[in-house]
């Protein structure tokens, strides 16, 4: 799936990528963040 981000959004997310504990490229980091968010947001209702 393709997701568009503004260059500014990616600049902020770059700092998360630099932390290196959610992946080694932006695709992995975006997916990891999405999954963390889903856990926060949907809780036990998450698939």
């Amino acid at each position: 799936m393709k997701i568009r981000f503004t260059s500014q959004q990616l600049k902020l997310l770059q700092a998360v990528l630099d932390e290196k504990d959610r992946g080694t490229n932006m695709n992995e980091v975006v997916l990891a963040i999405f999954r963390e968010f889903v856990k926060q947001q949907l809780g036990r209702e998450a698939a």
Binding site: M1, I3, R4, F5, L12, N27, F34, F37, L42, E45
Partner: protein, 315 residues
């Protein structure tokens, strides 16, 4: 004891523009009882830099000990800090300032009623500033409120100020501080239908206050976006009143058009189900919108400082 370098009693209805140096403290004392005091603040060396009550509101609609008097962006400098603010001094950041037309239009006052716009203008005129240089005022001892429908309640609650109440504002830069007696006092609860005198006093810096200044400057300055006029595209202050467009002007916005990049992710079956659930719950117009919103909401929740009232947390 710090040295008193200026003292004056402000009688109704008057004000005073007081030059202050960084590290000095302005003390405003209620001499007789409840009295609303309006306040304006300028950079002493550049009058175009002035307090922005609108930006002060970002941390709440009232000030407290530790609250910063901010100048308007793009300067956004800490101008002063409340080092003392008694509970009986309710502060108001919503009421702007009273003005003569308001009393004429709303109350049918025949003529010019005393008002903060005119008192501020008269006070700053001593420094060559015009009535247009008056800005939204920080209001001390003004017990206004609001409700959750967004209604402003300017005039229902009585002033809680007590004789002897003192507010202290420590200058974090050289400022022109302008306290004054609010002119609406005799026709509203703002000052409980009366006018009373207040004392204003400036005291010199002390080692303790210098330490507070140093700590707060370290915390609140040094950002690359706190700009100075030499960084402005238009540096000169316009003198003609008539506005005309500059020939062949090309705006240089920060980002326009906004660059967009695409990130590709491989979603599992459960990722897809969760994403569909988010869309169904109105978390996005479509799957791309929901996924982007999810990622950026996570960022906002986990990597963004909370907006909270400033405190005087000096170690």
């Amino acid at each position: 004891m710090s040295k008193i370098i200026y003292t004056k009693t402000l009688d109704p209805v008057s004000g005073k523009a007081i030059p202050m140096k960084r590290g000095q403290t302005l003390t405003i004392t209620l001499l007789e009882g409840p009295q609303c005091v309006d306040f304006n603040c300028f950079n002493l060396h550049d009058y175009k830099e002035r307090m922005s009550v609108g930006h002060m509101r970002r941390t709440g609609f009232r000030c407290r000990q530790g609250s910063i008097v901010w100048s308007a962006p793009p300067r956004y400098n800490p101008m002063m800090v409340f080092t003392e603010l008694p509970a009986t001094c309710r502060t108001d950041l919503l009421a702007a300032r009273c003005h003569a037309t308001q009393f004429e239009k709303e109350r049918g006052y025949p003529g010019t009623h005393t008002n903060c716009q005119d008192t501020l203008a008269e006070s700053i005129a001593e420094f060559g500033l015009t009535p247009d240089d008056v800005h939204d005022s920080l209001n001390l001892w003004m017990n206004t409120g609001w409700d959750d429908e967004g209604n402003f309640i300017p005039n229902v609650r009585r002033n809680q100020g007590k004789k002897g109440d003192q507010v202290k504002l420590l200058a974090l830069m050289d400022v022109l501080a302008v306290p004054l007696i609010c002119g609406s006092g005799d026709v509203s609860n703002t000052s409980n239908y009366w006018f009373r005198s207040v004392k204003v006093e400036v005291t010199d810096s002390t080692p303790e206050n210098d330490a507070v200044v140093a700590t707060l400057l370290k915390k609140h300055t040094g950002f690359i976006n706190q700009r100075t006029p030499d960084q402005f595209r238009v540096k000169d202050i316009r003198t003609e009143r008539d506005l005309t467009a500059t020939d062949k002007f090309e705006p240089k916005f920060t980002l326009c058009p906004v660059p967009v990049e695409t990130v590709t992710v491989e979603l599992t079956e459960s990722d897809k189900k969760n994403l569909a659930k988010l869309v169904k719950r109105g978390f996005g117009e479509d799957e791309e919108d929901a996924l982007r919103s999810a990622v950026m909401t996570w960022y906002t929740r986990n990597r963004t400082a909370q907006i909270v009232p400033e405190t005087l947390d000096i170690e």
